[in-house]
Each structure stands twice: as C-alpha cells, then as structure tokens.
C-alpha cells in the first residue's frame, strides 16, 4: 500500500515526565502523534493551521502550537500535555480554579489555555490582568468571553503563592442589587 510502505520514524522524548518512545509516519505533526499514536486526546485541535491556540502544549517549558511542530522535532525534548498537569490525582491549581470558576464551559479550548497559563505562572508569580490578557491572546475561546479564564488564572496564581483568595462575590452572583 502506498502509505503503509512508508518507513515510520522512531523517536524518544520525555512526555509528561516519563520516558516515551513512539514510531509514526514522519510527516505527522506533534499534535497528530500525541492524539493518534499515543492516544493522548486531551490535546485538541481547532484549525490545524496555527490560528486558534487550541492545540497548545509545552515543549521544554515553552508553549508551542503542536499543529505546527513536526513530531520528529520532539525528539529528545520535554513535552507536557494536559494529561500531565495533575500530580497523580491532585489537580494542578489551574485545573482546580478553571473547574471552580466555570472557566471551562465547553472545555474544548481549556487544555490549551491552561498550558499557556501554566507557562505564564512559572515565569511570573503575580501577573497583572493585562499581562494575563497578553499571554492568553493567542488562544481563542468562543464560550466564556475570557473573563472567567482571567479570574481562574488569578486565583490559581494566588493559590500557588500560598495566599488565600476568593473570587469577588460579583464574579459569581453579579453585582449586588
């Protein structure tokens, strides 16, 4: 068969903290390798053209669009996906706050947003609202209007700093009437 005759590529890399080996058709993007060859379907796709940010993963700690990176280029590198965010059964603070605030409505863009936010919080423990907007500006969300996402990132940042913080009442109930 035309396609089956192609030699598969074989790479080793670190995936969510574990050593990983995988063989795949060499033209595949990292997105395809993760979803199709490693069954990690938590990484989503919205355009497969680098336009929407949905497929974001972290490579060596930096957010990249997995639809624009060849799987081959992941060789020897450290890749982190949504499936690797939690420590065992303990969710990452961003996962907790995205769930608590309703920052994940349909949830389709959420993995990408959370990974970009993780990168941000690793660089900056207390980002301003404007810094959060700037960092997330490459990711599209059609459900939330982004507001609950900002709030989730701010809450997670506070949690990670060890500070007690709650959402203002008006975020959850509207302005007091």
């Amino acid at each position: 068969m035309q396609n089956g005759a192609k030699q598969k590529a074989h790479i080793s890399f670190s995936l969510n903290g574990e050593a990983c080996e995988v063989a795949f058709a060499p033209h595949k993007t990292l997105l395809e390798v993760l979803r199709e060859d490693l069954a990690l379907t938590g990484t989503k796709h919205g355009c497969e053209l680098g336009e929407c940010g949905t497929c974001t993963v972290l490579v060596d700690g930096k957010s990249i669009l997995s639809c624009l990176m060849l799987g081959l280029d992941a060789a020897g590198r450290r890749v982190e996906t949504i499936e690797g965010m939690a420590e065992g059964a303990q969710l990452h603070p961003l996962q907790e706050t995205f769930a608590d605030t309703g920052a994940a409505q349909c949830g389709y863009c959420s993995p990408g947003f959370m990974l970009v936010a993780k990168e941000l919080l690793e660089k900056s423990a207390k980002p301003t609202r404007d810094e959060i907007k700037e960092a997330l500006s490459g990711n599209l969300c059609r459900c939330t209007g982004y507001i609950k996402i900002y709030e989730a990132v701010e809450l997670a940042a506070a949690k990670m700093r060890g500070e007690a913080m709650e959402l203002p009442r008006e975020s959850l109930f509207g302005i007091e009437t």
């Binding site: 068969m1 035309q2 396609n3 089956g4 979803r35 069954a39 379907t41 938590g42 989503k44 796709h45 919205g46 355009c47 497969e48 053209l49 336009e51 929407c52 949905t54 996906t81 949504i82 499936e83 939690a86 969710l91 996962q95 907790e96 995205f98 769930a99 608590d100 605030t101 309703g102 994940a104 409505q105 349909c106 949830g107 389709y108 863009c109 959420s110 993995p111 959370m114 959060i132 907007k133 700037e134 997330l136 500006s137 490459g138 990711n139 599209l140 059609r142 459900c143 939330t144 209007g145 982004y146 507001i147 609950k148 008006e170 975020s171 959850l172 109930f173 509207g174 302005i175 009437t177």
Partner: protein, 819 residues
C-alpha cells in the same frame, strides 16, 4: 409568586455556585469529544465538496479513486436518493448532491479509506464534470432572478418564503402618531465558529444496528433524519451526542457528514469517522442570516409606540435549514419589550449560492433587535427624550398578551434598565448634544449607548408537529443509594448536565455530585428535543422536577411508614429523610431507597414537560410563543478614534432577568459569553464573499475570520435580576442567548454618541466609521448604511385582530373583492 419545584422551602443546591458535574473531566483532558473516539479497524472518511457555486453535475468518475490501494468505499448522490432537512417544510438536502451543486462546499462524493491520508488522496482523484449555472449572489438577485431556480420549491423563483402578517389596523395606529420615523438597516451574516470542528463516528455492529456518535446539539432530529434517509427503522439506530466543543446553533441541523459516515459504516462493516476541517466548518455554516430591514414606527410625543411596520429580507444561502423559522423570528419578538399596540410584519427569505444560513445564538432576533433599538435611539433623539427613560416608560406589561399573541409572564426589563442606568452613571454621562465635535483629529471620542432585548425560554412548539412532551427525564434509584438521571438533552458547554444534577439533588436532598448523569443517547435516554431555542433549563428542569418529586413521593411513603409519622412530616436534606418535627428521627437517603424498594419494587420514575398552549391560532403563530421570556438591558461605553475609525468598546454594563439562577456562576458565564459574541458581531465578524459571480467565501479560516481575542474583549459589569417566572423550574428563565441581543445596538448607539455618525450596518468596521465621518464633514447625512429595500410584491397580509380589539387569536376571514 410560586414557581415549580420550590414549595417555599429553603434551597440547598439551587442558587449556589457549584462546580459543573463535568468540570473535572474538562479540566483534565478526559472529556471525550467526537473526534477523540477511536475504534478498532476504524476507517477515515473525506468528503469531496463542490468548487462550483451553482452547477449541474454532468458526470462523476470514480475509477481512479477506487483503484487507489486502501480505499474501501466511495459513495455519491445516487446512494442517497431521499432528501432530509431540519424542518418538515424544507426537506431540501441530500447527503451528497445528486443532480446539481448549490454552493462552494456542497458535498458531492465521500471516500472511506484506511487512513485520512489515503482518503484525502482518493478524494482528489475523483473527477467531477460540471455545467455551470448562473449564480444568485444577493437578496436583490434572489428576489428578481426567477431562473435558474436554486430549488424547485418555495414561494416562486428564488424566494424561499414570504410572509405577511398584520395585527390590528396599523394605518389607524400611524394616524394617531405625533411622529412617524422610517429607517433602513443591514446586518451582515456571521458564523458560530465553535472551537471544535464537527465530527462523527458511525459503527454498524454485529446485530445489524447502527450507532452514530456525533458532535450534535440535536441527537433526536439526527436520529429521525438517519432513519428516513437510510431507510432503516429508527429502533435500529442509536445516536449518541458527544459533548459539544461549542455549538451556538451551528450543530443543530442533521448534517451530511453524519449521514455519509453512517452509510459508509453500513457498506464497509467497519467503524467510519469523519472530522471536518476548519474550512469545511465554514461551509457547514447555518449561521446568522444577513438581513436587510426597514422599520416604520409611529410614536406619540412621549415615545409611546402607536404602530410599527417591520420588513425583513433574509439571504438564506443555498438550503432551507431553519430558514422558515428564522424568517418568522425576524418579526416575532419586537412586541415583547415595549408595548406595540398594532403591528405589521413582512418577511422574505431568498435562496442564494452561499453556505446555508440557519440558527445562531439568538436565532433570527439579533438582526431585528439591532435595527429596532437603533431606530428607537433615533426616535428618542428626534423627540429629545432620554433613550433609557423613553424605553423605561413604555414597557410591555407583565402577565399580558401582545398584539401578535405572545403571552408574557414575568417581565423584569424595568429593573434591568434601572440597574445598567445606575451602574453606568448614565444620567451623568449621557446627553444628546455631545459637546465633542466629531471632526478628524487624533483625539479619541468617548460615547455611551443603551439597548434592551428579550428572548424566548424555549420554542412553544416542537419542530415537527406532535402532541408529545418536548422533554423527558428518567430517574433510577438503586438500593446502594445511587441516583441516575437520564435525559436526551446535550451539554454543549452551557452546563445542561449539571442543571439536571442540581435540580434532582435539590428535590431529593442530596449532593449534586452524588448523582450520575447520562444524557444525549437515544438508546438510553428519553427524548429531549435538543440544545436550541434556549429551551433546556426550563424544559428539562421542569421534567426533572416532576421525575424527582415522583421518586421522593415513593421514598416518603416508605420512610413515613417505617418511622410511623405522617407523610407530610417527611423532609429530605443532607442525604437524609427525616421527621421535620423531630429532625434527629430519620434514615439515610440510601436506607430510604432500600425501604422504598422493599415496599414498591425497583424504583424508577419519569417526568416530562410540555409547554403551555399559545393563545395565537393564526397561520404563522407557531414561531415566537414561549413558556417565558427573558429580558436584558445593556449600556456600552466606547472610545472611537476619528483618525482611524477604530471603535474600542471599553465596558458593557448588562442586566439580565434570569427569573431565578439555578447556578449563578453558570449564569454569569453565559452572560459574559453572550456579551463577547455580541461584541464580535458588532465589531468584526462577517461571512463575506468575493464580489464577483463566483460566490467564493473570502476567508474560511480562523485567522482571517476576525473574532475577539483577549485583547479586544471588553470589561463586563453584570447584574442578575431575579423575578421568578411561574413557568420556570424554581422560577428560572433562559440565559444562553438573550444577553447577546442588546450588545450590538448598545455599541452602535454609543458610537453615535461618541462621534455623531450612525452606522446602520453591522459590523461597525473602521472603514464604515471613516466613511460616515467624511459624509458628516461634507455636511451630508452622517451615516453609513443601506438607503432602501427592494420593491417586491407581498402576499395580502393575514389580518389578525389584537387582544385589545377583541381578537381571538385567529386570522380574519379573507374578504373577496368583487368589482
């Protein structure tokens, strides 16, 4: 006011900002969307789509494609002779085109192959010979060009539907007016752009039954369409709607790829998956109709409306879809916000060679709402009235029936206006004589504008005529203490699965996370019509209350007997059933089930919901009635740069009459998301086509189809108004769509307030603002927008006497004129 489910007891779950029941799965990547489904031996499907906008199919040559190794099957239009469509009156789609193609993107052939690469290669080896036909590219052409017809049905030529309705004597109303104003508006089409591309997987399994997993908002309608087109009994088909990665109305039609993968699975005996590319999602469309509108309104000096005549012209694209309903919706809800004693509506939908339009968030109502609210702003200026005050003075009364026979229940718009006026410091900021002179310089100009709106909480009538409930819920309680709620509704991100859990938990006195929720599976769940028309919370909520109350009754009987207390003493809370007079006397919830199962056998109950009958009986009265109406008011504050025409929306204050929040945090999310989507529509989003006869979509990609990022999204100040509606579960009304509606006109009115130009065409792009500013500089009409609507023959209107005129909701007999 008493509402369903409440009975005056304190609420433990309803009204609290719980997590969604599926939140953890969504935040850990575990939610299985349609494209995440992988089955052994699964084949990949690709669909060849037309690159011609309007053409006869002369020949299709599959020989090269079939010869490609790895190809398992190819189907074409002749494999799908039976048409389908969402509305019974517009069964005009074939899964693959048979004799002709009607837009660029129309499906022609489909391949099932060993993998997506082979399917793609095979698709490109299919040779199709077309004979081009003249294209119909606009509303005007749709009205004027009779041949060639895009479809062989409709109201003549390329007119799909024409409607004409008159409620009361409109001329009499205009005669009573102190001012009659006429305006023309255009609202460009735009699309849903859900982040998830549509996908479907079909499997024809060993017992010769078909299972389809699909990202659909309406599994019940897909189920019906599959049975019809595939000619197999519906009982042999199982449709499972996967959680939708955003819907917004774009996944509400039965789609060709769903039918195609089903057929290919039947032919090949293997599972088949089709995932659309983003470009194909643009061609699926079913989004906002472009609508050209003309309004004529008579008002008294204080702004009371005496009569209104609304005309709308819809560019429907290439198929019917929901279009007949969309057409009626452009004329239905004008009457539920302000009192309109006499009302005339004329609407026409035409077919054009573009991707089909359909229902997008607000279905058919954002366009007329934008036109009406900008029109009212102009009237307020002419009368020198405060536009907020003018609206506030003339609200449609609660518990009333409108001129077009819509029954309004609770009506919180007055409170909504008060909140946004107060919050935005409207009275301090707003004046008609904006002292800033809007000439070109580098200074930006600030302005403020207001608009209001209303939306249905579920369509009063189902899409196909029947006397059955619109929503069903089944509840199973097991002796281990488990509660499982089953319902055909689909979670598209709005939280409908969670709403079921919250409501059942409230009634049974347990925690929502104790409950297992199974939804959107036609084999396992009772029918719910789907996630559209903002119907889900109200309808599934009422059905869930009924099912849970029936279960509670069984438990109550068993527990009362066991405790030896009267049944009216038994209450449920904190996972216990107890004697209200001696709360320590009681049993655990699980024990209560054991007692009930011992007494009655296996415990299962059902609940269902049918909306109340509408008072309207005239032909066309089916669109607009709803068990309840939600209300919204918004104030927008904008900054316009006269040098560039760029409009920056800084903040929107929005108040939404929710009736009662089942979960206020989810309500807030819907309000903010609606504001966002309205902002995108007013500032940038448009489905537009190259200005030549080829009707090529200008930009079927997410990069070029502009939608707001974090950098464009404005600040939102939200107020929730709780005025429980007697028809809502615990008094709840809708929130998924309504809050979008006031945003576009509030922004348009604010732009006028900032720089003194009217942009009577959506979206308000910098180019349009600059053009209008230039007109203003030259001393001409400071506006950008259409100046006229086409002349067309309308059918003689159906005359309906209004309730105030003693009408009974029926049309008057036609008077034949003898010469």
């Amino acid at each position: 006011m008493s509402s369903n489910g409440n009975n005056g007891k304190p609420l433990n779950v309803v009204g609290k900002p719980f997590r969604k029941v599926d939140a953890r799965a969504k935040c850990t990547g575990q939610t299985k969307f349609a494209d995440d489904i992988v089955l052994p031996r699964m084949l990949a499907c690709k669909i060849l789509r037309s690159h011609e906008p309007h053409a006869r199919i002369k020949n299709i040559d599959l020989s090269k494609a079939l010869a490609l190794p790895g190809v398992f099957a190819i189907v074409t239009g002749k494999d799908f002779p039976i048409p389908y469509g969402i509305l019974p009156v517009s069964q005009d789609e074939h899964a693959l085109c048979i004799d002709k193609v009607r837009f660029i993107g129309d499906p022609v052939a489909a391949v099932a192959a060993i993998d997506e690469d082979v399917a793609f290669d095979a698709m490109n080896l299919i040779e199709v010979e077309y004979e081009r036909l003249q294209t119909i590219t606009s509303i005007e052409e749709g009205l004027l060009v009779e041949e060639p017809r895009i479809h062989e049905y409709g109201d003549g030529g390329n007119v799909h539907k024409k409607v004409s309705l008159e409620f009361g004597d409109v001329d009499e109303g205009f005669a009573e007016a102190d001012l009659i104003r006429e305006d023309t508006f255009f609202y460009e089409g735009n699309t849903h752009l859900p982040m998830e591309q549509h996908a479907a997987v079909a499997y024809f399994d060993s017992d010769q039954k078909l299972t389809l997993w699909s990202a659909t908002q309406t599994p019940h309608y897909v189920h019906r369409a599959l049975a019809k087109v595939l000619e197999i009994p519906a009982s042999h088909i199982r449709v499972i709607a996967t959680p939708n990665g955003g819907g917004f109305g774009g996944k509400s039609d039965p789609f060709n790829h769903e039918v195609v993968v089903s057929k290919l699975a039947m032919i090949t005996g293997r599972p088949v998956k089709c995932t659309l590319t983003r470009e194909e999602v643009f061609y699926c469309h079913r989004g906002r109709h472009p609508v050209l509108m003309h309004l004529k309104t008579g008002v008294t000096k204080d702004g009371a409306i005496t009569a209104m005549h609304f005309k709308s012209f819809l560019d429907g694209g290439a198929y019917g879809s929901y279009g007949v309903a969309s057409t009626f919706y452009t004329g239905a809800l004008q009457t539920v916000t302000y009192e309109v004693p006499r009302y005339k509506f004329q609407g026409a939908r035409v077919f054009t060679n573009k991707p089909p339009c359909g229902p997008k968030r607000g279905h058919g109502t954002p366009q007329p709402r934008y036109a009406l609210e900008v029109h009212l702003d102009k009237i307020a200026e002419q009368l020198n009235l405060d536009p907020a005050e003018m609206r506030r003075q003339h609200l449609a009364p609660p518990n009333s029936v409108t001129a077009n026979y819509l029954r309004i229940g609770s009506m919180g718009l007055g409170a909504c206006i008060d909140k946004v006026v107060e919050g935005s410091e409207w009275k301090k900021k707003f004046t008609w004589s904006n002292p800033q002179s809007p000439i070109r310089n580098s200074q930006s100009r600030k302005g403020i504008g207001i608009a209001c709106s209303s939306y249905i909480c579920g369509a009063g009538l189902p899409i196909y005529w029947n006397n059955m409930p619109q929503s069903g819920v089944q509840l199973r309680l097991d002796r281990q203490g488990g509660v499982c709620v089953m319902c055909g509704s689909v979670d598209i991100g709005q939280g409908s699965d969670s709403i079921l859990a919250y409501i059942v938990a409230e009634v049974l006195g347990i925690d929502p996370f104790d409950i297992r929720v199974i939804t959107a599976d036609t084999d396992l769940t009772p029918v719910d019509l789907g996630s559209y028309s903002s119907r889900v919370t109200l309808m599934t909520g009422n059905a869930a209350i009924q099912a849970a109350e029936r279960a509670r009754e069984l438990l109550t009987l068993a527990v009362a007997e066991k405790l030896g207390v009267p049944i009216e003493n038994i209450s449920f809370a904190e996972r216990r059933a107890f004697d209200v007079e001696n709360p320590e006397v009681g049993v655990s919830f699980a024990e209560a089930i054991v007692l009930a199962e011992s007494k009655f056998g296996t415990i299962g109950t059902v609940g269902s919901y049918t909306p109340p009958r509408s008072p309207g009986k005239y032909k066309g009265a089916g669109v607009g009635p709803s068990p309840a109406y939600s209300y919204s008011a918004a104030v927008a504050e904008v900054d316009v740069d006269p040098a560039t025409g760029i409009v920056t929306v800084e903040r929107i204050w929005i108040a939404h009459d929710i009736g009662k929040s089942i979960n206020p945090a989810l309500v807030m999310g819907q309000v903010e998301g609606s504001v966002y989507m309205g902002l995108g529509e007013i500032l940038m989003e448009e489905m537009s086509y190259r200005a030549n006869r080829n009707v090529v979509h200008k930009f079927p990609s997410m990069l070029e189809y502009k939608s707001p990022t974090t950098l464009e999204m404005c600040d939102v100040k939200t107020y929730l108004i709780e005025d429980p509606d007697p028809n809502g579960p615990f008094g709840a009304k809708e929130v998924g769509q309504g809050p979008l509606l006031p945003v576009p006109p509030a922004v348009a009115n604010a732009v006028y307030n900032a720089v003194g130009v009217r942009i009577d065409e959506v979206p308000i792009t910098p180019e349009k603002v600059l053009k209008a500013l230039r007109e203003k500089e030259k001393g001409r009409d400071p506006r950008f927008g259409p100046t006229a609507v086409p002349n067309t023959d309308w059918p003689e209107p159906l005359h309906v006497l209004t309730p105030a005129e003693g009408g009974d909701g029926r049309e008057m007999p036609r008077v034949s004129v003898h010469s």
